[in-house]
Symmetry: C2
Subunit: 356 residues, 2 copies
């Protein structure tokens, strides 16, 4: 039976990526060796890393603009630490926008390093919208935001204009929509949504913002050292990086971010239209801030949950239950999820009307 995987991450990747990465484990580049047993310093893997780093900048439109792409380890959560280490001056301060669980996590770590100003927060509304009307101190070392809030289903549609460096956690919507990526000075993202499997973290950083914190940075937490080592300061997560390259190549062949954005908008419109039309459901996030990646929605009558749950499971859908912080349902519609899968869900939602 065809599966429709709505997992919030790790999540669905293109079928061709699964097939090619499995093949590379058995015989990489027709070398007779597995991708897993070759040196990361071998010509073949150095080429993988170089291609992946270059393709990131190409897809984001950041080539030749002073940016470097790195494939690190430790997840976005380790970036919560690396960012203040590298960017917050001793006795300096940073500005953070609190839009959800992960933003709050980043704030918590920054506080260990110095003054951390929360310029806006929607915590009191269970993060159901993106705060507005905040201002960013001009003497902050950087401003940090989270472009998409996986758990709450909100997404920043625009980003503030400020003279301080802008740092953005794009873990759950990178490569999903066209943006002027040069408005950011540092972008980071755990791979396991739109870029690849769990196990590597993308960091795209404008080199000119580095080297100013005045801190003694441990080597593995120092972006400059990773740049100097061309993202091979130590043994990188070989398989996750290779599989990310395959996913980025799939995206490029599809037409890049502009092409996938059209598909993502079509999927989101289809689902949100049904949520708004169907009297049995309601959306969880403010309409203006709805995420095109993660749609959070609830049944108006919880008593319908058992029958709805049975129906979507019977349709081959998985990964639909909402996060405990919101309840209800969350449909994660990452790049590789086909429109067909959204249609299956919408059909189930419609069918529920005839059953209750």
């Amino acid at each position: 039976m065809k599966k429709h995987n709505y997992s919030a991450g790790p999540c669905i990747l293109p079928q061709e990526v699964f097939e090619k990465s499995a093949q590379a484990i058995l015989n990489f580049n027709d070398s007779g060796l597995s991708l897993l047993e070759i040196s990361h310093r071998s010509k073949d893997f150095v080429a993988v890393m170089d291609q992946a780093r270059a393709l990131v900048l190409e897809l984001l439109g950041l080539e030749g603009k002073g940016y470097q792409a790195l494939f690190l380890a430790g997840g976005a959560s380790l970036e919560f630490v690396m960012i203040p280490y590298n960017l917050m001056k001793v006795d300096g301060k940073a500005a953070y926008l609190d839009t959800g669980t992960w933003a709050a996590g980043a704030i918590k770590e920054a506080k260990l390093f110095g003054e951390t100003v929360v310029v806006g927060s929607s915590k009191d509304d269970n993060y159901n919208h993106i705060p507005t009307g905040y201002s960013i101190p001009t003497d902050a070392d950087y401003f940090h935001c989270t472009s998409n809030n996986t758990i709450f289903g909100t997404q920043m549609k625009t980003f503030p204009t400020t003279e301080v460096p802008v740092v953005c956690d794009m873990s759950s919507d990178i490569f999903s929509r066209v943006l002027d990526f040069s408005q950011f000075d540092l972008i980071y993202a755990g791979a396991q949504k739109n870029m690849g499997p769990a196990g590597t973290t993308l960091v795209v950083v404008k080199e000119s913002i580095l080297g100013k914190s005045g801190r003694d940075i441990p080597s593995m937490l120092d972006y400059s050292k990773h740049i100097k080592a061309e993202s091979m300061y130590n043994t990188p997560p070989v398989f996750p990086v290779y599989t990310s390259l395959l996913t980025l190549q799939w995206l490029k062949n599809l037409g890049g971010i502009a092409a996938i954005e059209k598909q993502n908008n079509a999927k989101a419109n289809l689902l949100y239209s049904e949520i708004d039309r169907n009297p049995l459901f309601k959306g969880a996030a403010a309409v203006a801030d709805r995420s095109a990646m993660n749609a959070t929605f609830l049944l108006n009558d919880e008593a319908h949950a058992p029958i709805f749950d049975e129906m979507w499971k019977a349709a081959g859908i998985s990964g639909l239950p909402g996060h405990r912080s919101v309840g209800g349902y969350r449909a994660s519609m990452y790049n590789a999820l086909p429109l067909e899968s959204v249609q299956v869900l919408v059909d189930v939602m419609k069918a529920l009307e005839t059953k209750v």
Copy 2:
């Protein structure tokens, strides 16, 4: 043609591990989903993590002795930072044994945190032996050593008795030989030698040594937080952890560490006997400290290098060139390398005698 992979790491893994991990990418546990697209919080993956953590303690004989096994990210190099963060008190000090490039790397990071006493070093002899006759300050917060020096081909055969906690980087010989592992308070190892593919780091820590540094430890660098979260503080490196589990299961089915140690000794004896017998070659490391994992050796006459290189390549051997710090050759004979591959190398070394 059959390949004989002597890569120093990432390195050869059992063929059944390649096959099973490739299969899991196409269809994990017959779920119809790829291992790469399932949630790390799913029942199936939580079981993988739990089994892997338990099997580590079982294989090391550390069950029920107050230890916890963690699968982290960032490689051994990130542990160089985590260890002082967690174990070196504010205004405390640590003792390090300097036995090679990686030990020196660990020392460099520790110095950022406080007094770092190098109790012994073989640096002046290009690390060709393990220092002896050193003493460990009784007021050190911990003693750090590196059990096997991949680059130089030396291996600690015994470990000092001390009342301070003993921390050991076993990246390149963990699971290769029987030791009383309870003599260590913290063991760590990048997976990419005897445990699995690149992308995860094993940490085995005695819980009673934690919580004493008095430092504000960033969450991702705090062993206690990882323990509390059962090694899922954030999204773990799913594929590397799963493939490590497969490798550990292979080892258990083979008879565990005692069984593989016999094979490893047979391989090492075969190769070192030939290095000592063959007048064209000489070993690089002190005989008493020779590593059973990485044999470093040189041609007595460099002029023979072109013909020897041509011969071993023709025999299907790869990964044999020595590290630039030593030159010559390095045969890495990790757990999954079959005795047959060592015989092929020895046969080539013998054949060289008839050609020059």
